[in-house]
């Protein structure tokens, strides 16, 4: 309902109330296991955003989630549920690592381009088979992408313990470290005066992530292809009538989705680990689903949701570090509650707030416009057009 809420309430007030509710319930859980929730909250917040150090990690994690979130979002626009982020990101890591290990790249600027191509290509390739099967055979993409996650993990273990492993280096299933010349400048290299430490994992791929947000925005809302993707996602029969090929859209949307998810490797593999390990994704593929859903598949929403999750990751890490006896799984609980309240229980808060706004404005309101056309429920669109 467009008119029920002013824009600021819709995009700020409601999420804020939701977030507070999530934190209150998290606090109860913390109290229940005998810890001080206020101390926990303060560690969580200062740990995440209270220092350059915290920001370095928060934004680093957020970068991963932006990529996976954007990828899931693009697929969502074509009404495709891509659960395969874990696998696609792992393969992206493989593509990235192969480029960096086997191509002689003299400088990081060249390397990031080459590695991005490799990561995107491999990520897209891993999405291509489920996409093809969905488009041509109608095989449900949710199953095939889940299966491809498992297949990817097997492939990674095989390659890293049998093929790409460095012989005689102690048997750790990982590739060699990438050469120094492809080291990505991190926040310390670029912005040393802001107090980042040398080890901060935040690196230039954060900028790549922002560029990816812009790219997705342009793609979805400014290109003919994006228009077709959205049209297809909204109505398949209409797409048919409009001369939009379902096979083409499914393939392209999934390829873009896989490529974006694969690009996560630039941050985690090239930027941070600087080598390929067995599980370079660490659940970011799944977090990407939550991020895309919470961000309503809009790049700005994805960016903000990724930031929130990045902060929770980092703040949660500090929490287990600083608070004795705090299990690291508490982060999962807080995340879950944030997803639940901001994502799924949104209407619990929205409905009463809307009623409050409506009754507050009811009196001065003019009678209906002449033609009884109703500006009925397009609350979703308002995020569509910034």
């Amino acid at each position: 309902m467009t008119d029920a809420l002013p824009k600021w309430a819709d995009i700020l007030l409601i999420p804020l109330i939701n977030l507070i509710l999530a934190l209150v319930v998290s606090g109860l859980v913390v109290a229940l296991i005998g810890k001080d929730p206020f101390e926990a909250l303060s560690i969580l917040v200062t740990g995440a955003v209270g220092s350059a150090y915290g920001w370095g990690y928060t934004l680093f994690y957020a970068t991963n989630f932006i990529f996976t979130g954007l990828g899931v979002a693009v697929a969502f626009h074509a009404r495709l549920f891509n659960i395969g982020g874990e696998g696609q990101a792992a393969l992206g890591g493989l593509g990235c690592a192969l480029v960096l290990l086997y191509l002689p790249l003299p400088h990081w600027s060249l390397a990031i381009i080459a590695a991005s191509l490799g990561a995107a290509l491999f990520g897209a390739a891993w999405a291509a088979i489920p996409a093809y099967l969905q488009a041509k055979r109608g095989s449900h993409i949710v199953i095939t992408t889940i299966m491809f996650n498992f297949i990817a993990s097997a492939l990674m273990v095989y390659l890293l313990s049998r093929v790409l492993i460095v012989p005689g280096a102690g048997g750790s299933p990982e590739t060699a470290r990438f050469v120094e010349s492809v080291h990505l400048p991190n926040a310390y290299d670029v912005l040393p005066w802001m107090g980042f430490s040398r080890s901060t994992p935040l690196n230039v791929s954060f900028l790549l992530a922002i560029a990816a947000c812009v790219f997705v925005w342009v793609l979805i809302w400014r290109t003919r292809l994006g228009y077709e993707i959205r049209a297809f996602g909204q109505s398949e029969p209409a797409a048919l009538y409009g001369g939009i090929s379902s096979v083409r859209i499914i393939m392209i949307a999934m390829l873009i989705s896989g490529a974006l998810i694969g690009l996560m490797a630039i941050n985690s593999v090239m930027g941070e680990a600087e080598r390929l390990v067995i599980d370079p994704v660490q659940g970011a593929g799944f977090v990407g689903i939550a991020v895309a859903l919470m961000g309503r598949s809009h790049p700005v929403g994805v960016f903000l949701a990724a930031l929130l999750f990045g902060a929770l990751y980092q703040g949660g890490g500090e929490l287990t570090f600083e608070m004795n006896g705090m299990t690291r799984e508490i982060i999962l609980v807080i995340q879950a509650l944030v997803i639940l309240f901001t994502g799924a229980l949104d209407n619990m808060v929205r409905a009463p707030v809307e009623r409050a706004f409506l009754s507050a404005r009811k009196r001065p309101r003019a009678p209906l416009p002449t033609n009884p056309v109703e500006p009925g429920g397009h609350s979703d669109e308002k995020k569509v057009e910034p």
Partner: protein, 321 residues
């Protein structure tokens, strides 16, 4: 491979498919009623934890099982509140429930037992034992039939038989009872149910609760029958596989039995034939371990057509906006 080996593989497949079957039927109830549930995994995990915890605490596996079901029902209630009462996004709610279960089981487990989220090892009456079917030993000697009865069918936990019974029961409920008719209708067109004077919310909640109950059984089976205690993340993706099986089964009970048994069988085969030599080349273990998943994709692409979910699935029922 000899006959005994075959029986063993089928036997293993039966055990491995049981939690999948419970979860698949759970998802079936929920999704046939129009509520998508990717939170099966979380409910299984929560139930596995609480059933093991309670069984360890009381030494009684039945109490454990009920506690497990209770845990699963609590998460189901959250899912119902989010997706039915407050008409939230069902996928988001499911994702949240998975995270919640992963986190809470360890946080609470650590607070209670201090074993890093593990529960104490279960023994004796705190665990489901194996049920020997009547005359199993007498019949074992009969060729062919004997081993099927005595080794394959007999000697499982009671929950295996419960799961198998749930299949005809589910079929019967859905196709032969008033409740089933309404439940199927609400997944296809909730407005039809509403205008027929039946509560959409009530029906969907009932379905979500049945889903919780069955997930509870799946979790209890994992922790107190197949294993002897809870280990964190022990559901190990089975909720997702069950979801795949559900789509595979096109949301039908007997098909669900087939699909979950197929998944169980593929896993059992993968366990059995991990190192295979073909034409002098050793197939890498990892390939054999991925084989069940590869085969699933192949079967799906080759033999199972388009799966059409219940029409109102995934959408909250909104009359007024």
């Amino acid at each position: 491979m000899d006959y005994a080996g075959l029986i063993q593989i089928l036997d293993s497949a039966l055990r491995l498919s049981t939690p999948l079957l419970f979860a698949c039927l759970a998802g079936l109830f929920s999704e046939r009623a129009g509520v998508f549930d990717i939170g099966l995994e979380g409910k299984i995990l929560a139930s596995a934890f609480l059933s093991a915890a309670m069984a360890a605490y009381t030494g009684n596996v039945w109490l454990g099982m009920f506690a497990g079901i209770l845990a699963s029902l609590m998460l189901a209630t959250i899912h119902g509140m989010a997706s039915i009462t407050f008409r939230g996004n069902q996928l988001i709610s499911g994702v949240a429930i998975n995270f919640l279960a992963s986190g809470l089981t360890v946080v609470i487990g650590e607070a209670w037992f201090g074993l890093g989220g593990r529960t104490p090892q279960l023994e004796g009456a705190a665990r489901f034992g194996e049920l020997t079917l009547p005359f199993a030993d007498a019949i074992r000697g009969i060729p062919f039939i004997g081993p099927i009865y005595a080794d394959l069918l007999s000697g499982h936990s009671i929950l295996v038989y419960v799961a198998l019974l749930c299949v005809p029961l589910t079929w019967w409920i859905l196709s032969r009872t008033r409740f089933g008719l309404r439940l199927r209708a609400v997944g296809e067109n909730p407005a039809a149910v509403d205008t027929a004077g039946v509560s959409v919310v009530g029906l969907r909640f009932a379905a979500v609760m049945i889903c919780g109950l069955l997930c509870g059984l799946a979790g209890a089976y994992l922790a107190t029958a197949l294993s002897a205690g809870f280990v964190k993340e022990m559901s190990a993706g089975r909720g997702f596989i069950a979801l795949a099986a559900l789509i595979f089964a096109k949301w039908r009970p007997w098909h669900a039995l087939g699909a979950t048994f197929l998944f169980g069988l593929l896993e059992a085969l993968g366990n059995r034939f991990q190192s295979l030599e073909l034409l002098g080349i050793t197939i890498p273990t990892q390939f054999m371990q991925a084989l069940p998943y590869i085969l699933t994709v192949v079967i799906l692409a080759g033999f199972v057509g388009r799966a059409i979910p219940p029409r109102a699935g995934g959408e909250p029922y909104v009359k007024e906006r």
